[in-house]
Amino acid sequence: MLRILHQLWRVGVATEPPPATDAAALEALGLELHRAIEARFRHSLAIRVVDAGSCNGCELEIHALANPYYDIERFGVSFVASPRHADALLVTGPVSRHMETALRRTWRAMSAPKFVIAAGQCACGGGEFGGSYASCGAVEKVLPVDVKIPGCPPSPEDLMRGLLAALRVDETTVSESCGESA
């Protein structure tokens, strides 16, 4: 126990302030959507992640959102296990044909209001794999997509900027709660 406490004391707080969301990014993500989330989700967003065929690069970066540098949960964003609990569906990968039905069913299991975020180049536009005998291509070929976060894979900053912009959380409203960066 002492070793653990010593380690915690030595490392301190690594968490950083969130990235700035500039006006252009907000514009791109759709102002209308922000209003809807603000009104409907009250600054809190429960996300269900579905890998619909990615190379797993996007998953690694979504995982990184939970590390102490980003600590995405402090902004009210949580990743939930059941689509029944989710406000948003975060989809990675091109939609492989073998995942098509599972993805549709996950989306159907979510209660309205709900929206879909496509994360990564493949989810946004088909990316490296595109459409083929085995792949439907971009997520929007299968589900209505509300927000796109490009990148191969999108970095945690890109993901956060996309999500935070969607939530209209910016530096001024959260800087008091996140403490000093290490």
């Binding site: 990615s54 073998h98 005998y133």
Partner: protein
């Protein structure tokens, strides 16, 4: 006597005719007949050859099968062919259980007929195309496709008995993880049987590779499994370079070694924390994910990508290092060495971790050997296999590799192997930077002769990784097959979960960490 002559002689003794084959650059190979395909495996098995993968190819109106065997540091390729109209072979699976899924993959995608394969069920194919249509067979016509139904009729093997129940899990899992289906049979808390059903992320990588140029192939190879971007790109690149007889500058090779070790460290550190987290020891996850994040940020700063994608290019690497960057990296190594020491010390003997990790998910040395496990899964179960040591390719031929082997075969042993590998990688990277040769970081690939073939073999962080490449007459890719180490990790998971409680499945799974994308292709 070479290993090839040795096996050739043994095959002759049982009446199997062989001919030498030199179609794959620098690799000893034997041609046998399609009917002898299975019997030859029986002889190889009796001679203790390790089975390291099999794949199909079609060329000049024939179906070609290849299988790679290994013994010590020696590799031997077996090949056989049959007419495209009826590509019938006997099977390796009765002799090598590791061959099961790779043969079913070739059956689904190419229409290879294995006359005595013990499992007639589909593997990579779900419901996106019919049984009699084979996407990689040259005669496959383009199909129009509507919605693809769920593969709900897959015939899982069922157990019956008092108190035995099934738990279906997936393809959509509770966490942020790749899709796959697990069918558990349990009695009370104890798992009696686990059957995996993968193939959900199949997106036709082998078909997408056809017609690409070398640079395009490496872009794709880096995305076979995102966590192994360097491994697969290097294997594909090595295959192409061997096929065309290219010489890669020594500085580029040293930098590739550096990149591969950086990938190993990032994955090991992340996974060690995740394994501890799966038994409720969140402290470990927080600490290691912090170290991993700093590592990845340095990747982006110096190599342009957090996961090192597209850092390996045909004939070399994309980024050179200047002296400042070398100093920065060496300082990073020192910092990481210092940072992991107190952490690994805790993970090694913390009582609550010991309670959950020691004896959990035990894989016997016999099973690991029979399933062909390499990497940390094999090493933790007594398999002292490491390409960097056994058949060292540049730059490892000049480095000292101490393969960390454990005999316990449990989750704790796999964690110990990975901790030892982090230390070893740091030493290797320091050595590579200290002795970094001067010169170019890439050389242009010569034009490939028509039908040039090459095989790349790289020790990725998961273990031995293979890539087969064949060029067409115009210098484009005619065939690419990447064999991730996960092909032999997934069957090991089905074995090692026996007798464990259902609730320990996540930690057992994480401790072996097979790639879904890497095998679904």
């Amino acid at each position: 006597m070479s290993a090839k002559q040795d096996l050739g002689t043994q095959l002759h003794q049982v009446g199997i005719n062989t001919r030498s084959y030199s179609g794959v650059a620098n690799l000893p190979a034997l041609i046998i007949s399609a009917a002898d395909w299975g019997p030859a495996a029986a002889v190889a098995k009796a001679q203790d050859w390790r089975w390291a993968g099999s794949w199909a190819d079609t060329d000049a109106g024939r179906m070609h099968l290849y299988a790679l065997l290994a013994q010590g540091g020696e590799y031997l390729l077996l090949t056989a062919q049959a007419p495209l109209e009826r590509p019938e072979f006997t099977s390796h699976t009765p002799h090598y259980p590791a061959a099961d899924r790779l043969e079913r993959h070739a059956r689904d995608l190419f229409g290879v007929i294995y006359s005595d394969h013990p499992d007639g069920r589909r593997w990579t194919r779900h419901q996106a195309w019919p049984q009699d249509w084979h996407p990689l067979h040259p005669a496959a016509e383009v199909r129009t496709q509507g919605r693809t139904a769920a593969d709900s009729s897959y015939p899982f093997i069922t157990l019956r008995g008092d108190g035995v129940f099934e738990i279906p899990v997936g393809p959509v899992h509770a966490g942020i993880i790749e899709p796959g289906h697990f069918r558990f049979h349990a009695a009370g808390e104890t798992v009696l049987r686990l059957e995996e059903r993968l193939g959900y992320t199949h997106k036709g990588i082998e078909a997408l590779a056809v017609g690409r140029n070398p640079a395009g192939l490496l872009h794709l190879a880096a995305r076979v499994s995102g966590d192994s971007a360097v491994t697969h790109a290097w294997a594909a690149s090595q295959a192409m370079e061997r096929a065309v007889g290219a010489t890669v500058p020594p500085r580029a090779l040293a930098l590739r070694g550096l990149l591969a070790e950086r990938e190993r460290v990032a994955n090991h550190i992340g996974d060690i924390g995740a394994i501890c987290n799966d038994v409720g020891f969140a402290f470990a996850q927080v600490q290691t994910s912090r170290l991993r994040e700093r590592w990845q940020r340095r990747n982006r700063e110096i190599f342009g990508h957090r996961l090192l994608m597209d850092s390996v290019v045909p004939g070399g690497v994309a980024h050179d290092l200047n002296t400042t960057q070398i100093t920065t990296l060496r300082a990073d190594h020192a910092t990481l060495r210092q940072a992991v020491e107190p952490l690994f010390d805790i993970f090694d003997d913390h009582p609550s971790l010991e309670d959950r990790l020691v004896t959990t998910g035990h894989l016997s040395a016999e099973d690991a050997g029979a399933l062909g496990c390499t990497g940390y899964v094999g090493k933790a179960s007594g398999q002292a296999l490491d390409l960097r040591h056994d058949a060292p390719y540049a730059p490892y031929h000049e480095l000292l590799i101490n393969v960390p082997v454990q005999s316990e075969g449990d989750v704790a042993a796999r964690v110990r192997v990975r901790m030892a590998e982090v230390h070893m990688s740091l030493d290797l990277m320091d050595h590579l930077l200290r002795t970094l040769p001067v010169g170019d970081i890439h050389a242009p690939l010569p034009n490939p002769p028509a039908a040039a073939c090459g095989l790349g073999l790289i020790e990725g962080w998961r273990g031995e990784t293979l890539a087969f490449v064949r060029f067409d007459a115009s210098g484009c890719i005619a065939r690419y097959f990447p064999r991730d180490a996960s092909w032999f990790i997934w069957p090991a998971l089905e074995r090692l979960i026996h007798g464990n409680i259902v609730a320990d499945f996540p930690v057992c799974n994480k401790s072996v960490n097979g790639s879904y994308a890497g095998v679904d292709l």
